[in-house]
Symmetry: C2
Subunit: 193 residues, 2 copies
Amino acid sequence: MTASDKSSAGSSTTRRMLLDATVAIMLEDGYAGATSRRVAARAGVKPALVHYYFPNMDELYLAVFREGAQANLDRQAEALESAQPLRALWEEASEPRGARLLLEFMALANHRKAIRAEIALWAERWRGVQITALDRILREHGTAGEWSTPEVVSVLMACVGRMLVLEDTLGISTGHDELRTLIKHFVDDVELS
Amino acid sequence: MTASDKSSAGSSTTRRMLLDATVAIMLEDGYAGATSRRVAARAGVKPALVHYYFPNMDELYLAVFREGAQANLDRQAEALESAQPLRALWEEASEPRGARLLLEFMALANHRKAIRAEIALWAERWRGVQITALDRILREHGTAGEWSTPEVVSVLMACVGRMLVLEDTLGISTGHDELRTLIKHFVDDVELS
DNA sequence: GTCTATACTTCGATAGAC
DNA sequence: GTCTATCGAAGTATAGAC
C-alpha cells in the first residue's frame, strides 16, 4: 500500500515482460511456480533483475494483481455501456483467465497478508459499482422475480460464474449446462423486455 | 490412484498427527507452507519420518484430500437423514473449514496434476449423490420455483456457499447478508411446507 | 519406527562490475 | 539497466545407525 510507487515509474519494457511472465506462470503452474528465477527465465532476463524492478516478491505479486484488478474494473465499465449490460456482466464473470487468476491470488492471500487487503479493496469497489449499475438495470427493465435485488444478483453472478469456471478447469461438469441455461434465460428475460 | 495403499495400512498415531499437521498448516498458511520440514515440526517428529509414511509430498497431499473427501461424503449422508436435509446441505456447503481447504486443493491441483483427477472424482460422486437426494426432496415438498431443479439447486448451493466463505475470509461482505437471507427463505419455503 | 546425517536442488536477496 | 557471482535459508529425498 505504501512505498512501492518508485517501481511503477519506469517505462521499460522489461518490467512489462516480468509482469506478463508472472501471470503466465501463475496460470500454468500456480502461484508457487512463479518464483523469481522462473519469472526471470520466462521474461528472458537474469534473476537479479527481478529484484531491481520489484524489491521483493510480494511487490511483484501486488503489481500483477493491481494491474489485473484495474483491467477488470475497466472491462466492467465497458460492459455496462453495451447494449446488454447484464449479459456482458455475466460473460465477464465467466471469463476463465480472470477466474483462475483470482483463485491463485485468493490462495496467495492465505500466507501473503499484504495481498489480502488488496483483494478486499478491489472486490468491494468492484461490487459497489456493479450493484449501483444493477440497481438501474433491474429497475429499468422488469425484474424476473421478487428476489432479484441488485445485491443478490451481483453476488450470485460473481460466485457462480467464477466457480463454474474453476470446476470446468478441474474437469467437473455435472449440472453446469442446466445452471448456465437458466442464467442465460434470466438475463434475456430481464434485458430483452 | 494406484500403488499407494501400502501407506494406509499403518495404525500408527504418527501418521495421524502428520495428516492433522498438514491440514492445520494448509489452513493457516496455504498449501505452499505445508512443507515436509514444517509438517514434521508441527507433528513433533523429524522430517525424515514424513517420507517414511509418505514416499513423497504428493502422496501426503492426496492422503489428506482423500480423508477429507470421505469425511465430507459421510457428513452429507448424515445431513440427508436429518429433519431438514436441504438446510443441512446448505450448512455443510457453508462450512468454513471445508471451503478453505478445498480452495487450497484447487490451487494445488494447478501444478500437482495427480490432485486434479482426485478432486474431480470426489466432486462428481458427491454431486451425484446430492442431486439424487435433491430430486426426492424437491419432489416431496413444493418447489419454490420452476427453476429449482435438483441440478441447479445442487450447483448453486455449492458455488455460493463456498464462495461466500472465501470472500468472508478475505474480508469481503457486501451483499452477503441479502443472499444468505434469501437462501434461508428458500430452504424454509421448500422444507417447512 | 524414529533418528542423524547428508546430498542435491532451488529459493530470495544482495554486492558489485559493466 | 543488466549482468556475474555469491550468500544463507529452506526445500525434497535418501542412506544407514539405532
